[in-house]
Subunit: 521 residues, 2 copies
């Protein structure tokens, strides 16, 4: 059978016989890959090449699906008359194995012309960003085309008007949640500070005040714990939309994993390329964060930017620029956005890793005497700022209200209600069975703790995959230590991880201790 394409036909497309769909059990993450046998007549006659892009058509279905071609020499993977599809494409096409499909050379997306203009240093319009982002969402861009777009945006820098256009394009190419209330609060930290799990305190405090705060969080990718990983120690974090609405109606808040929703879907695709490239332009960061929040239905947003020598933002000048950009784009998008610059000079709290952080959080909620003061203070301040989004609260009163909510036990009660609504995890909190104390090599005062080093040691110990693994900091900045005191304890579940974390800590523990003229050495 021969299939003549009748829409969007160009001279680069060819008439091809059909192939039978086959699912190939390979997960190619966010890149669509199709497999064609080297001896398949179509491969030879049509001049397809490995790594070229093809369009996959089904007769009854209009829009083709784009995939990268890999060539197969093994009938067990893809036969002569078959088109193999990686899990991603197979899901996207959503047809049974054996379905007749047709392939053609994919024409490059026309929006690539805009990418070339951006690379040449030109300013792009909202319409141009929209077509680029729509093509990216429709899987029409390969990884390298996405990389070209990102580098093009990073290099000449985007004007703030362009960041706004990009944000709007990312919102408008996905779903948008509506929680049915005129005020929906959210918070976001740009990350980089171990133990900084304020969200799990802010949400119950704000909800106890009666404000709506549906919180979707991410899992850790390069850090020792994400809010979703930590909340998962206490409760189920993966729920369908309807369940979320039920929880919200009852408790005014939830803390769940935001991974599956189609909110600003371009964001995940862009991040999958940004991360391996270590790209972190402020334009992309602002568009990424704000588009997700707007799509998630937020109307009021508090952004936490930690500043410190080992934080993501290293000085107040960079912090100020970033703050202005957040405010500009947020305002134009109709999202009430406030930005706070916070202390990012050391980890927050004492625990780093899902279980250890959960223990810190519960101590604060329970008003325990050994609750970490810095975590509590920061959470109260952030919660206070969000409470001031409430029209009835005077400016400056939020902190006191937040403190009352914690001290009265109402925050703990709300947290327990949220946990029960999401489904309490009945397994008790368990630390990794292996532990090792890292000792102060000399006496003096702790003058700094390296966020990156502590995060790295906690990850090596197994966090976040092993929820009980991580690091517990006995000493924080400005505290006095004696030689032989324990600086921090490493917890791990598995020997290999444990030894690796210890070795790393022995090489460099991240603590700076200044002797103070005393003779304790």
């Amino acid at each position: 059978m021969v299939y003549q394409m009748n829409s969007g036909m160009t001279e680069d497309k060819v008439v091809v016989p059909s192939l039978k769909l086959r699912r190939v059990g390979i997960d190619t993450y966010k890149e669509n890959v199709a497999y064609l046998h080297r001896d398949c007549p179509i491969y030879r006659s049509e001049g397809f090449q490995a790594l070229s892009k093809i369009e996959i058509h089904i007769v009854s279905n209009g829009a083709p699906v784009i995939a990268l071609l890999n060539v197969v020499d093994d009938d067990c993977i893809t036969g002569l008359d078959e088109l193999g599809l990686s899990e991603q494409v197979f899901r996207q096409l959503d047809k049974p194995e054996g379905t007749e499909v047709f392939i053609s050379h994919a024409t490059p997306p026309t929006s690539l012309q805009s990418v070339h203009l951006k690379i040449a240093g030109e300013r792009l319009s909202y319409e141009q960003y929209l077509t680029i982002i729509q093509d990216i969402v429709d899987s029409r861009y390969s990884k390298i085309e996405i990389a070209a777009f990102l580098v093009g945006c990073a290099e000449t820098g985007m004007e703030r008007e362009e960041v706004l256009s990009l944000t709007r394009a990312m919102v408008n190419t996905g779903e948008k949640l509506d929680w049915g209330e005129h005020q929906v609060s959210d918070k976001h930290c740009i990350g980089g500070i171990p133990g900084n799990r304020t969200t799990m305190l802010v949400v119950p405090i704000v909800a106890a005040h009666g404000m709506l705060m549906p919180k979707t969080s991410s899992r850790a990718i390069t850090s020792p714990a994400g809010t979703a990983d930590t909340m998962e120690v206490l409760a189920d974090v993966d729920h369908p939309q309807q369940k979320l609405r039920d929880i919200l109606q009852k408790e005014r808040a939830f803390i769940v994993w935001g991974g599956t929703a189609q909110l600003a879907p371009a964001d995940d695709i862009l991040i999958a390329v940004e991360r391996p490239l270590s790209m972190d332009s402020s334009g992309q960061m602002v568009a990424s964060i704000l588009s997700k929040k707007i799509a998630a239905g937020a109307t009021h947003l508090l952004i936490d930017i930690p500043v410190g020598p080992t934080a993501k933002i290293r000085n107040s000048s960079d912090a100020l620029k970033l703050r202005k950009l957040f405010e500009y784009v947020g305002d134009k998008m109709g999202l009430h956005t406030e930005v706070v610059l916070t202390d990012g000079t050391q980890p927050i709290g004492r625990g780093v890793g899902p279980v250890l952080e959960t223990m810190d959080i519960m101590k604060v909620l329970e008003n325990a005497p050994d609750a970490p003061i810095d975590l509590r203070e920061k959470a109260l301040q952030l919660a206070g700022r969000i409470i001031e989004f409430d029209f009835d609260v005077r400016g400056g009163q939020g902190y006191v209200i937040a403190r009352d909510i914690v001290e009265s036990g109402r925050a703990l009660a709300k947290m327990n209600a949220i946990i029960d609504a999401q489904g309490r995890n009945l397994t008790p909190l368990t630390l990794g069975k292996l532990h090792h104390d890292v000792i102060a090599p000399k006496s003096g005062i702790v003058t700094s703790i390296d966020n990156l080093r502590i995060a790295s040691i906690a990850r090596l110990a197994g966090a976040p995959l092993d929820s009980g693994a991580g690091v517990y900091l006995h000493k924080k900045r400005d505290e006095r230590v004696q030689k032989g005191d324990t600086l921090f304890t490493i917890y791990a579940e598995f020997n290999a991880d444990f030894n690796f974390a210890i070795t790393a800590a022995e090489q460099e523990d991240g603590y700076q201790i200044d002797t103070d003229g005393a003779t304790n050495e």
Copy 2:
């Protein structure tokens, strides 16, 4: 068994149990891909992610091989205790199936820092380009990292000193041929003009003059024919090094495919990303061409830059800039480089496609009365310029010498000797069995012929894969046509291709015909 890495160990690497090597019959072109089963204990415990980069280690072998990870759900592709490798990686690792290997997270190549500097607009040194290119040659860069490098270079533009550094780095990271003579001539056309097969005339003319001209050529990728495709109609073009040296000693020249040699290997890797991105910065073009020629042992090089509205270079200002860049880098690299700007306003010769172009070439060599004049003239001029590389030839005399060589039949004799030395293809020249005349819709004078359109129609007809497919131009620019005259004939082997090429020609045949006030309409 557990393997503790002892060299280059960083905190991001982990201790892992071994896996058994397995060849997976998938061709991933110039990207290394490794396959790990989703339920493999290493996948889960070490936090590997699909599309993350891993290092593959063999105990007895120092340098690890880098690959992109795909996750497999099918034991038939890769079992629980196996590490699957795509054909590329398997060849690169060069160990039998079942060999014990270890994997670890790949640390990003340190030269990526230089790429980020380039993206930020800084000028890079030779040493920085060298480490980038060496890492690229060692497969340490993913496609997206290569794309970031290319876009970074394109956007801010490279200074000519940087193009020199890049060229030198590309030469110094591969093999370099030495033909044992002090003068080795070569030519190169930047491409884009259908039918422009002057190489197959220039080489026998220059060799008949006694000069050494070992010519390695490429196959067509986006054009209807490359020199290697066209020469293959007449002779075998794929030979081992020693055979090439034998041919050269006897005949002073050959025309072969250059695909397999490890000459400036970074070039092929960069091109594999540039092409799908449609990137064509002049810096990359100059570095790509000159590095290949220098690595191939050339001492004297003639560059052909066709200029015309549908050529790669569209105006003389761009041509001049490109010429200066070729001259600057060539001179600094010790390669005698001359650049000629040629007429690129229409296809050269009459045939477009391997067999059709071969027929044009043989007519010129045989001094046939219907030999295409423009192809003959251009070849004589280019050959003349190369003959003037000979110290004993006065400036301006090259053309006459070249013409004598053709008219005397010595060029034909030399071509036949080269063909015989390479192994004559005894199959007679055969045109595609299907043919269709494209007719002038009105009378007048042909004022332009679109290179891109003619190339596209010839490719649709099946060139270069079907060597007899293509287009034969009966009318060229400035010729008078009557309504109903044949402008060109399409040749094809297969019905589908044939119909597609005809449809494309009916939509737009690429000919501009201006009526001249006469009443022939």
